[in-house]
């Protein structure tokens, strides 16, 4: 239980810090300007560091994970997606993984049942929950463009309109706000419910869930319940996109909680499991094509070895071999 409660306590503390500091100590410049810029700088440099660190590791061999027939003879059909033969096919596979989580779709569950019973079945819940969670986060992220642009980029408008089509409440209710909270709750409960998962889950699995959940709750509160002044907030965020250091206007503390948690997330991101966002594009088991049979891949850090072929060997020792009665290939 401690590994669940600790991250929860940390997140609650993180909510409290900006609230108290802004509300009672007037630290709005610190939490509205300095912390976000510092977090953005750490985020960008951290992510770049991790990516370059991965990019500079050599990948001498094809270690593609495959789940289908490899390309061999022309008349044997092969699986373009699950055993890609060209870089293009491999990238299509990466993109489908990123957008549809194909590997999670294959998820299985194995369970011991009461009495001597064992079930082995397909389990789609993680796939569905993960998909709902990530897609909502993407849509929510895109929607936030309204704070950083004078005019919304064209392709975001239909996303926004679709998201609010239910036209409940004022300001209009966004579907993804509910979906992301439901999905985060599901992903959390999923870890608690199953004994096996409970054991392998670490505090670092719970912390990002709680953090993202808290960010969403603060955002929802600010939009539908306690309201913060969007005009002043937009003045601040437009300042961010112009790199200005103007002090923020009078904004409700809940906004600073939201912003501070996002800053924490940004700083935490490069150094945690959240880097799977960049890693998925760079993992050699997915972005390499399986063409070891068509193309010879030479390990670049092999020492240069002087090879000697059998033919050369025989040329040198042919007479001696004949004398000893050994068979030779060339007379």
């Amino acid at each position: 239980m401690k590994k669940v409660l600790m991250p929860l306590a940390i997140v609650l503390l993180l909510c409290l810090i900006p609230y108290v500091a802004v509300r009672y100590a007037g630290q709005s410049y610190l939490f509205g300007v300095i912390v976000p810029y510092a977090a953005a700088a750490l985020f960008v440099s951290g992510v770049l560091f991790r990516l370059f660190d991965w990019l500079r590791r050599p990948v001498p061999f094809r270690i593609t994970t495959t789940a289908g027939q490899e390309k061999t003879l022309d008349w044997i059909p092969y699986s373009r997606l699950d055993s890609p033969a060209t870089p293009m096919q491999a990238w299509v596979r990466v993109l489908l993984e990123v957008f549809l989580f194909r590997s999670l779709f294959r998820n299985n569950k194995a369970e011991l049942r009461e009495g001597p019973g064992f079930t082995f079945a397909s389990s789609k819940w993680l796939w569905l929950g993960g998909l709902a969670f990530h897609w909502s986060l993407l849509v929510i992220g895109l929607r936030h463009a309204r704070f950083f642009f004078v005019e919304l980029p064209g392709f975001i408008v239909p996303v926004e309109v679709a998201d609010r089509f239910l036209d409940l409440t004022l300001p209009a209710f966004y579907l993804t706000d509910a979906v992301v909270l439901a999905a985060a709750t599901f992903l959390f409960v999923r870890r608690l419910r199953d004994a096996k998962l409970r054991i392998i889950s670490l505090p670092t699995d719970y912390f990002p869930l709680f953090l993202i959940g808290a960010i969403a709750v603060a955002g929802v509160l600010m939009r539908y319940v306690t309201k913060a002044d969007i005009m002043t907030i937009k003045a601040l965020t437009m300042g961010f996109s112009e790199m200005s250091f103007e002090p923020p206007g009078d904004i409700a503390p809940v906004f600073y909680v939201h912003l501070f948690l996002v800053s924490v997330l940004a700083v935490y991101f490069p150094f945690s499991k959240l880097m799977h966002m960049g890693a998925i594009f760079l993992s050699p088991t997915r972005n390499l094509c399986n063409n070891s049979r068509q193309k010879r891949h030479v390990n670049p850090w092999n020492r240069a070895v002087k090879f000697r072929t059998y033919a050369e060997y025989e040329d040198d020792y042919r007479e001696k071999m004949k004398k000893a009665g050994l068979p030779v290939e060339k007379e």
């Binding site: 309204r146 919304l152 969007i230 005009m231």
Partner: protein, 135 residues
Amino acid sequence: MSNRISAILALLIAGAMFVAALLFMQSVHGASSALRAAAPVAVARQVPIDSTRCIASTVYMKSHHMQLLNQWRHDSVRKGNRAHVTSDGRRFDKSLNTCLGCHASNPMFCFMCHEYANVKPTCWNCHISPMEATR
């Protein structure tokens, strides 16, 4: 085979849910019109009003006007209660047109902010907008 059965089942369930939703909406609708018939529409008393102050503090209006409008819409359309009394005792009709009564001098009043904040309320699809009101 089992695939086809589950497809048929899914269709049946979807159909049942659709019918249930229809029935639900029907019943809710019936209830609200019954309520409307019961509650006489309270009309705001016409008294000269002080138009130098908004119906709530400016700071509050700035961030909460949509919640207030939502409340007004609910009260007048669903409950038939159209009279709004401000904290300083002025009376207003709970209607979008009330806002325009004071804010019509600047036809861009609602739009300036919304343009800046990238919000597009759907209200003007049906209601008269400040731009049309001043024309």
